[in-house]
């Protein structure tokens, strides 16, 4: 940080931004599949957080930034007929667990597989399993019912052929 006007608040923000940027960008990559778009989304969220820094710094700035970024990206998946851009193929077979050399292959599979999910399913997967939010938190974040989150999560993991932990209850219905 070499800005000439860096005050105490800026220093605090800079520390915060440096600490969460990679995690936000990674989440945006998982949500969009596009590294450039992800970096833009993470930076755009931090810009808005800076603008609101005095208001949010004593609360939960990370949650605020995450929410801003999700809203930024959500605007794109809400748009009609662009929600699931021409998903025609089946999700590829998941590579078997193997050595570290296969990490690249597994990441490639991950991005391809996420790209085949519907946008809402993808969002739930990222919020639930990457950000590790509870179903209630995901519901509040996306503005949907908890039953919707359960349904989308179940459907997405099913498509990804992820075997659920027995502790993960599955509900296929939708409730209010």
């Amino acid at each position: 940080m070499k800005g000439p006007f860096m005050g105490r608040g800026d220093a605090e923000f800079a520390e915060f931004a440096a600490g969460c940027f990679h995690r936000l960008r990674r989440a945006a990559v998982l949500l969009t599949g596009d590294a450039g778009q992800a970096e833009d989304a993470a930076q755009a969220a931090l810009v808005k957080t800076y603008a609101a820094w005095r208001r949010v710094r004593r609360q939960d700035p990370y949650a605020y930034t995450r929410r801003v970024m999700i809203n930024h990206l959500k605007d794109q998946w809400r748009r009609p007929l662009k929600e699931d851009p021409y998903e025609q193929e089946r999700i590829p077979e998941r590579p078997a667990a193997a050595d570290v050399a296969d990490d690249v292959t597994r990441q490639q599979w991950l991005m391809a597989a996420l790209g085949k999910l519907a946008a809402r399913e993808r969002a739930v997967v990222v919020l639930r399993h990457y950000f590790d939010l509870s179903e209630q938190q995901v519901a509040a974040e996306l503005g949907v019912a908890v039953g919707t989150v359960k349904s989308l999560n179940s459907r997405a993991l099913g498509k990804l052929r992820i075997t659920l932990d027995p502790a993960e209850p599955v509900t296929n219905g939708v409730s209010l």
Partner: protein, 248 residues
């Protein structure tokens, strides 16, 4: 380690990439903060301009709320059945609701969806917000997919959805108040009811009375809400709720 644990590890992925461009972020943040400080001063002028524009643009013969949108002029890919007017206007657009053929390959079992579209005065449907069920069937009795209010491409869309059955009255609770939907039978099947809630009843703006909002927190208090959906027939009998699927 379970399959899900492995998947979560994969989501975390490699820790790499360049650091944030802090100078750029803070510079842009300062400019944004400065613009926000002046935003309030321009709102009044924009509103006045919008009102003038609306009055001069819309002719008297446009359909009343619930009335058929001029079918001959409708031009919207995938729309299904008659678009109907909601009476909600912004600038040179009016929000109409109709159904559409859902051909989303991610939901092969869901063939029916409903949409709200910003219609131009010539009848063409512009920006649309689509909503459709997550789980089949899409034609079972009761509520189905319901979209909460949204601002898409600078246009406010109301909460809307569809009900399968002889509903004559649809009510719900939003922010503690009972709200009543406007509804109209779908042109292709009168047993399917399209409905929407006026923006004054189920609104998308932050609830400024919410304690969380007053504390400056970004929480569910800033989201539109819709609970307790109820449908009644002409005799006042309560109809099945079905599987309301609320998308926000």
């Amino acid at each position: 380690m379970t399959d899900l644990d492995t998947f979560r590890d994969e989501l975390r992925g490699p820790a790499d990439g360049r650091p944030p461009a802090l100078d750029d972020i803070i510079g842009a943040g300062r400019r944004l903060r400065a613009r926000r400080r002046f935003a309030g001063a321009t709102v009044a002028a924009v509103v006045v301009a919008a009102v003038v524009s609306t009055v001069t643009w819309w002719p008297a013969q446009t359909p009343a709320p619930g009335g058929a949108w001029p079918a001959a002029a409708v031009d919207a890919e995938g729309s299904w059945g008659q678009a109907v007017s909601t009476g909600i206007r912004q600038d040179d657009r009016e929000i109409v609701v109709t159904a559409f053929h859902n051909e989303n390959p991610a939901y092969p079992d869901i063939k029916f969806g409903v949409r709200a579209c910003a219609a131009a005065i010539d009848g063409k449907l512009g920006t649309c917000v689509n909503t459709f069920d997550d789980v089949p069937p899409d034609n079972s009795p009761g509520f189905h997919s319901i979209e909460l209010p949204a601002n898409v491409e600078y246009i406010d869309f109301p909460a809307y959805g569809y009900y399968v059955g002889p509903a004559e009255t649809i009510t719900a609770t939003s922010r503690g108040r009972k709200v009543t939907a406007k509804l109209v039978p779908w042109s292709e099947d009168p047993n399917v009811v399209l409905f929407w809630f006026p923006l004054e009843q189920v609104y998308q703006k932050a609830d400024k009375n919410d304690p969380a909002y007053q504390e400056g927190k970004v929480t569910k208090g800033q989201l539109p809400d819709l609970t307790g959906l109820t449908a009644q027939d002409a005799a006042g009998r309560t109809l099945p709720v079905g599987k309301p699927f609320i998308i926000g």
